[in-house]
């Protein structure tokens, strides 16, 4: 039996489990349910239904047609800042709410950008305020002078002024990364927890280990199946979720500076949205592969699927809570950012925790993937050894 055929059989074993199909169906449904509040909700003014979120999105998309491509100069920011919000004299009613939303949408969409860069403070220059805010944050977090000047140099490399593009879909995608990764981790845990442990509980491990190709080839086939499933399902999962966001909010312009999205306003690096999306999805895939590697390692070490499944589910849910906390201790913050499920969020990828080697600084989005690949490789070796050294009486 060649390796490809072995992988085929491992997928077959997986597909013959009911839990696999239940998880495959339920996890996307769970994500859509959790993420649908901001899309399918309704808007009420003093108890009256005035519209839906889809109406609001339609207004913003319509406004974006006029705003897209606008160069965000200081003059433009001042012009928008000087504009007053239009409010109906009689107050908001069910009949005028959407009309005034439409009238104010240009101002509110640009104000969101200004607010995220200036942190709501009055400023003569939005860009200067952005850089000052970044510096203040780095100083507060205890970065060295060398690190601050390195980060400042990168911030200076961003091509200012930026150009506006309506990219709300990508922002939503980034905001929902922790939830997406949680759902992905649940799916991977349910599907991979039995990969080795099931052989032990079904007593088929003895048949595999006593057959000619049942050791190295089967061990390798199981690992490749686990990792390929983690990677492919992550690509499909995040790809479909991103496609859904594009379908709702539009494709926007992925060449726009990442900082034009409020969620990435604290990123000092000269990255555009395309690169940020690529970094996010790559991190999400690596995060999924690491979850898969941990679950498989536990599966190889345990006697049944229960333990690995419980641990995997904890690993899936814990980051959603941890992502809210921000430890002051830098080592702790780095460790937290490296946890699967946290790694893959903007906060982890563009963290202030730099790695410095011989005076060279490396941002988290560069060193964390290397660390992940090393950890995944080590876990794969551990898993293989545990499987091959398995002895039962």
């Amino acid at each position: 039996m060649n390796l490809r055929s072995g992988i085929g059989y491992e997928y077959k074993k997986m597909a013959k489990r009911k839990s696999f199909w239940i998880a495959l169906f339920l996890t996307p449904v769970l994500l859509v349910f959790l993420a649908s509040g901001t899309v399918f909700g309704k808007i009420y003014v003093e108890g009256d239904l005035v519209g839906t979120h889809m109406d609001e999105i339609a207004i913003r998309k319509e406004t974006a047609k006029k705003l897209n491509g606008t160069v965000l100069t200081e003059e433009f920011f001042r012009e928008i800042g000087a504009q007053e919000y239009l409010r109906p004299a009689e107050g908001y009613t069910a009949s005028n709410y959407l009309e005034y939303e439409k009238k104010n949408s240009s101002k509110s969409m640009i104000t969101e950008v200004i607010y995220s860069l200036t942190k709501g403070q009055e400023a003569d220059s939005v860009y200067m305020s952005w850089k000052e805010n970044l510096r203040a944050a780095w100083e507060e977090k205890g970065l060295s002078k060398s690190e601050i000047s390195w980060m400042e140099r990168l911030a200076d490399e961003t091509e200012i002024p930026w150009t506006y593009a309506y990219n709300e879909g990508y922002e939503r995608f980034a905001n929902y990364m922790p939830l997406s990764m949680m759902c992905m981790a649940v799916l991977l845990t349910v599907c991979l927890a039995p990969s080795f442990a099931e052989e032990y509980s079904l007593h088929t491990d003895v048949l595999l280990l006593t057959s000619e190709n049942g050791r190295l080839k089967t061990g390798a086939a199981k690992l490749i199946t686990g990792f390929s499933f983690s990677a492919v399902s992550s690509v499909v999962f995040y790809g479909l979720f991103l496609a859904g966001q594009i379908l709702i909010y539009g494709a926007g312009d992925i060449t726009a500076a990442a900082q034009t999205l409020p969620v990435f306003s604290e990123v000092p690096y000269p990255l555009n949205i395309a690169k940020v999306l690529l970094l996010l999805t790559t991190a999400g895939i690596l995060s999924g592969m690491a979850t898969g590697a941990i679950v498989m390692a536990l599966s190889a070490a345990a006697g049944s699927s229960f333990g690995p499944a419980v641990f995997g589910l904890l690993l899936a849910f814990l980051p959603v809570m941890l992502v809210m906390t921000e430890p002051q201790n830098r080592l702790l913050a780095t460790a937290l950012n490296a946890i699967p499920g946290v790694y893959g969020t903007g906060r982890s990828l563009f963290s202030y925790c730099l790695l410095t080697i011989c005076g060279l600084h490396f941002p988290a989005y560069q060193y964390l993937p290397v660390l992940y690949l090393a950890v995944i490789a080590l876990l794969a070796v551990f898993t293989g050894r545990r499987y091959l050294k398995r002895q039962t009486v």
């Binding site: 072995g6 088929t204 057959s211 190709n213």
Partner: protein
């Protein structure tokens, strides 16, 4: 060298441990197990090995054919020969009609037959069968026993059991195990000679029978109208009227594995 070797011993005697060591899935505390100079951990050994473990494992949602095809692949058979061999073996173990059925729907006997089929996929020169008849009804046991007997040409078959009749009729050589070691080894008739002239049968009263149980291993007790019929093992004639009879493998087994206090 080829033939059927019956490993006989009570539960906990070490039969399964020995078989697992011989199958290469359990490392001995000391020493090495070799087949013609090949260690049991080597791939070359596994090429020649067929193993039916005590708790035969299977994938409940696989069909019998899928299961055999998978294991045939693991045993190094090409796709074509795996298909051919699977069909042949399904025929041999009378499972052709159930080839497309999921294994979870199989009876205990069908599962054991599937187990023997998988062990034979690679036409092994060493076939290790750990308690293959456990859980089978008497008819299935006889069928199974005959099937194993028909496979001994050109291969070494190691059969472990605690059911004496499983090996009595088909084993060429018997290895009697107790506490992890061998008590005796030899052909069934040779091994039975250990207690030749020591097996006695006769009728006596209850009080005498109870007293005899202190010094003899009682093999069989039957309440009768005119007393108690006893079959026992001992050096001397146990009572007047008792006659010496031919020993069997079961007598030998009971002699070693039943305590005197359990006899009556």
């Amino acid at each position: 060298m080829t033939g059927i070797y019956g490993l006989l011993g009570a539960n906990g005697a070490g039969k399964t441990t020995l078989m697992r060591m011989m199958a290469g899935i359990l490392k001995p505390d000391s020493g090495e197990i070799l087949l013609d100079g090949i260690p049991v951990s080597a791939r070359e050994y596994r090429e020649q090995l067929g193993f039916l473990p005590q708790n035969f494992g299977y994938y409940p949602n696989f069909t019998a054919r899928e299961f055999l095809m998978y294991l045939a692949g693991l045993k190094g058979l090409s796709k074509d020969s795996a298909a051919r061999r699977s069909e042949e073996l399904l025929e041999t173990v009378h499972l052709s009609d159930a080839a497309r059925k999921k294994i979870r729907t199989f009876s205990g006997g069908m599962k054991q037959r599937l187990g023997i089929a998988q062990a034979l996929l690679n036409n092994p020169s060493v076939l290790i069968l750990d308690e293959p008849t456990a859980g089978l009804d008497p008819k299935e046991r006889v069928t199974f026993r005959n099937m194993i007997s028909g496979m001994k040409t050109g291969r070494i078959i190691l059969l472990s059991t605690h059911i004496v009749s499983d090996v009595e009729y088909i084993a060429d050589e018997i290895l009697l195990m107790k506490d992890g070691g061998f008590l005796h080894q030899g052909k069934p008739e040779e091994i039975c000679s250990v207690i030749a002239d020591k097996v006695w049968e006769g009728r006596t009263d209850r009080a005498k029978a109870v007293a005899l149980a202190q010094n003899y291993v009682v093999l069989n007790v039957r309440e009768e109208r005119d007393g108690i019929f006893l079959r026992l093992v001992g050096e001397k004639r146990p009572f007047e009227g008792a006659c010496c009879v031919q020993s069997s493998l079961e007598d030998l087994y009971l002699y070693y594995f039943s305590g005197k206090e359990e006899s009556l």
